[in-house]
C-alpha cells in the first residue's frame, strides 16, 4: 500500500491530530505553570511582616525603636502610629534625630522630618507609615506589608 506523501488529512484524522496537539500543548503549559507555582513559596521562615508587639501601656511617650521589624512606634497620649526605619535610599536603618523630631540615615545622610518626608539627602521619597492595629488580646500589631497615610493613628 503506497501512501501519498502530500496527502490531505481526512476530517477524522485532522480532528484527532488537532485535539491531540491541543491537549498535549495544554498538558505541557499546565505542567510549566505548576512548576512556576511550585517556585512561589507558601510559607516564609523570615520574621513575620505582621509583628505582634507588647501591650500599649508598655510603650513610653515618643518614639520606641522595635528592632525585630525595624520600625519606630510613636506614641502620643493614647494614639499610636508606626513608621518604617528602613531608609528608602538603600535600605540602611535610620536613627532618630538628636532633637527627637525627625530621622536621619547614618549611611548617606538622608534626612526625614517628623512626618517622615524627605528634607535632605539622597532618599527618593519619605519613610512609609505602617498600619498599626490592636490584636483581639489587646496587643499592638504592626503590619509592615500595609502602608497607610501619615495621619492615620490607632487610638486606644
Amino acid at each position: 500500500m503506497k501512501e501519498p506523501l502530500n496527502h490531505r488529512l481526512g476530517r477524522r484524522e485532522f480532528l484527532e491530530l488537532t485535539l491531540g496537539w491541543c491537549a498535549a500543548f495544554f498538558a505541557l503549559s499546565a505542567s510549566a505553570m505548576a512548576a512556576v507555582r511550585f517556585m512561589i513559596p507558601n510559607v516564609l521562615y523570615e520574621p513575620d511582616r505582621r509583628f505582634k508587639a507588647l501591650k500599649p501601656e508598655d510603650y513610653p511617650e515618643g518614639a520606641t525603636f522595635i528592632p525585630e521589624t525595624r520600625v519606630f512606634l510613636l506614641r502620643k497620649g493614647n494614639s499610636f502610629r508606626a513608621v518604617s526605619a528602613v531608609c528608602t535610599h538603600l535600605g540602611c536603618t535610620v536613627n532618630q534625630s538628636p532633637d527627637r523630631k525627625g530621622f536621619h540615615c547614618p549611611c548617606h545622610g538622608s534626612q526625614f522630618d517628623e512626618n517622615a518626608s524627605v528634607v535632605g539627602g539622597p532618599a527618593p521619597h519619605g519613610l512609609p507609615w505602617l498600619l498599626v492595629a490592636q490584636s483581639p488580646d489587646g496587643r499592638i500589631v504592626i503590619d509592615a506589608s500595609q502602608q497607610v497615610k501619615a495621619d492615620k493613628y490607632l487610638v486606644i
Binding site: M1, K2, E3, E13, E16, L17, L19, G20, W21, C22, A23, A24, F26, A27, A30, S31, A34, N42, V43, Y45, K52, A133, S135, P136, D137
Partner: protein, 464 residues
C-alpha cells in the same frame, strides 16, 4: 516504496494527550482544595458577621487566606496549628466549637514564644487534621489526650513548682511510692536493673504505658518488672508522669523563662537590692519607707505588683524610685512580701539534724527506691520467679535477726548478683540486689541500716 501508515496511531495520541492533560489538572485541583482553607473561610465569614463598622468589614475582607506558622528555633519546632485554629488569641471566640475556638489562659506561655506542640504534642508541620493531630502511621507523638496534658508541664517544671498541676504531683507521688527509681534511672539518678526512663514519654503511647503498668510481663515477655497491684488512679497518674519524661533538651532561653518566682528568690533579691536600707523587717532596717512586716494585710498582691512597676501609679508622691524590675523579679519580691505575714514561715522548715536516724533512714529507703523490690516499709511480697525465697523478693522485717549492722552495711554495699534458684533447670530470677557502693553515701547508709533494723516488730524482738 511501501510505508506503514501512522493513521491507526492518531486516536492513541489524542487519548494519551488527554489523559496527561487530565492528570496535570488533577494536580492543580488537589492543591486548590486543601482542608485548612475551609476553616479560614469560615473564620472570615464569622469576622464579617461580627463586624459593625465599614472599617471592620474592610479589615475582615482583607484577611489573607494562607498557611500560618509559628517558627520556634529554640524548640526546634514549626507549628502550623493556627492555620486551622485561627482564633486561638481572640477572646470573642471563647467556648466556640473547634477549630475556631479561643485558647483560654495562654498569657504565661505566649504562642509566639512557645507554639502549640510543645504542650499538646501532635505534628506541628502538618496542615491536615488527621496528620496534625498525629494519629497517623510514622508519627510517634500524637496529640496528648487532655487528661494527660499536664505531662507536658514536666518538660520544664517539677511537680513541686506547680500548684496547678495536681495530676503531675500525683504521678510523682506514685513514682516515689512504688520505688521505681530503685531499678530505673531517671535524670541521672537511680538503679540499673531496668531501662533508663529519661525519654520514655517520647517512645511510648499512653495506652502502652497503662497496659504495661497493669501487667508488665504480659506486654513485654520476660520482663523483670514486678507485677505491682496498682489502682486505676495510680496507673493513670504514673502514665502521665512517664509521658512527661520526653528527654527534650530546652535551649537556654526557655530554661531562663522557667524560673517560678518563689519567696526564696524574693528574699535573695530583697537583700541584693538593698531594700533594707529604707524599709524594715522584724525591726531591722531603715526608716525612710514603711515597715513591711504586715504589708500584705494592708495591700493586695496586685497593688504590690503595680507599686513595683511604678510606685507613683498607686501611691502618688511616693519617694520610692522606679527600679525597673523585670516581671519575674516583681513576682518573686511580691511572693516574699506576702510570705512575711505568715506566722508559719519562720518555723516551717525542719532542719534534718532534728530528725531521728530512723526517720532519716526511711527517707533514704524511699529516695533510692528500695520499695520497688522490697515493697513499702520493707514488707516484701514482690514476686521474683524462681527465687529460692518462695519466688519472692525477701521481706526486710527480720533483717535484724540475721545480720549485724556492719554485715548489713556490707551486704547493701556489695549487693548480690546471683540469687539462689529454687529450680536450677529454670531461668534465673530476674530481680537481684544491686551493689549500692558508689551510690549511697556513708552517712545515708548508716541511717538506712538503723531504719532497717527498726523494722523488726517490737513484740517479737529477741536478743542474742
Amino acid at each position: 516504496m511501501s510505508e506503514p501508515s501512522l493513521r491507526p496511531w492518531y486516536p492513541w495520541f489524542t487519548f494519551l494527550a488527554f489523559v496527561l492533560g487530565l492528570l496535570v489538572t488533577t494536580v492543580f485541583f488537589k492543591d486548590q482544595f486543601r482542608e485548612w482553607k475551609k476553616w479560614q473561610n469560615a473564620y472570615i465569614k464569622q469576622e464579617m458577621a461580627k463586624a459593625t463598622t465599614a472599617e471592620q468589614r474592610e479589615a475582615a475582607a482583607h484577611i489573607p487566606i494562607e498557611i500560618k506558622q509559628i517558627v520556634l528555633p529554640g524548640l526546634g519546632r514549626v507549628d502550623r496549628c493556627i492555620t486551622c485554629h485561627v482564633a486561638v488569641e481572640d477572646p470573642s471566640y471563647a467556648g466556640l466549637k473547634q477549630p475556631l475556638a479561643y485558647h483560654v489562659n495562654h498569657s504565661q506561655h505566649p504562642f509566639e514564644k512557645f507554639g502549640c506542640t510543645v504542650c499538646h504534642q501532635g505534628q506541628g508541620l502538618a496542615t491536615t487534621k488527621e496528620a496534625a493531630h498525629g494519629n497517623v502511621p510514622h508519627w510517634d507523638r500524637p496529640m496528648l489526650p487532655l487528661n494527660f496534658l499536664e505531662a507536658s508541664c514536666a518538660k520544664c517544671h517539677t511537680a513541686d513548682e506547680l500548684a496547678d498541676a495536681p495530676k503531675l504531683a500525683q504521678g510523682q507521688a506514685a513514682f516515689d511510692k512504688f520505688g521505681c527509681i530503685g531499678c530505673h534511672k531517671l535524670q541521672g539518678r537511680g538503679g540499673n536493673v531496668g531501662p533508663e526512663l529519661d525519654a520514655v514519654g517520647a517512645r511510648r503511647s499512653p495506652e502502652w504505658l497503662a497496659r504495661h503498668f497493669k501487667n508488665p510481663s504480659k506486654l513485654v515477655p520476660g520482663s523483670a518488672m514486678p507485677h505491682f497491684q496498682m489502682s486505676d488512679d495510680e496507673i493513670a497518674a504514673l502514665t502521665l508522669y512517664m509521658l512527661g519524661q520526653t528527654g527534650e533538651h530546652l535551649s537556654d532561653y526557655y530554661v531562663s523563662m522557667k524560673t517560678i518566682p518563689s519567696a526564696d528568690s524574693g528574699r535573695r533579691l530583697f537583700q541584693e537590692r538593698g531594700c533594707i536600707g529604707c524599709h524594715s523587717v522584724a525591726k531591722k532596717g531603715g526608716v525612710i519607707g514603711p515597715a513591711l512586716d504586715d504589708v500584705s494585710k494592708r495591700r493586695t498582691g496586685k497593688w504590690i505588683v503595680d507599686h513595683f512597676k511604678d510606685p507613683q501609679s498607686v501611691s502618688p508622691g511616693s519617694v520610692m524610685p522606679k527600679f525597673g524590675f523585670t516581671e519575674q523579679e516583681i513576682r518573686a519580691l511580691t511572693a516574699f512580701l506576702v510570705s512575711l505575714s505568715d506566722p508559719n514561715v519562720v518555723g516551717f522548715l525542719k532542719v534534718p539534724s532534728e530528725l531521728t536516724s530512723i526517720e532519716r533512714g526511711h527517707t533514704v529507703f524511699t529516695k533510692y527506691g528500695c520499695a520497688g523490690c522490697h515493697n513499702q516499709d520493707g514488707n516484701g511480697g514482690i514476686p521474683n520467679p524462681n527465687a529460692k525465697t518462695a519466688e519472692q523478693v525477701p521481706s526486710l522485717k527480720y533483717v535484724a535477726e540475721g545480720y549485724t549492722k556492719d554485715e548489713l552495711k556490707k551486704f547493701i554495699m556489695n549487693g548480690q548478683r546471683e540469687i539462689a534458684m529454687k529450680d536450677p533447670s529454670r531461668p534465673p530470677p530476674p530481680l537481684y540486689m544491686p551493689a549500692w557502693k558508689t551510690r549511697i553515701p556513708e552517712g545515708e547508709l548508716d541511717d538506712l541500716v538503723d531504719y532497717l533494723i527498726s523494722l523488726m516488730p517490737k513484740d517479737e524482738k529477741t536478743s542474742f
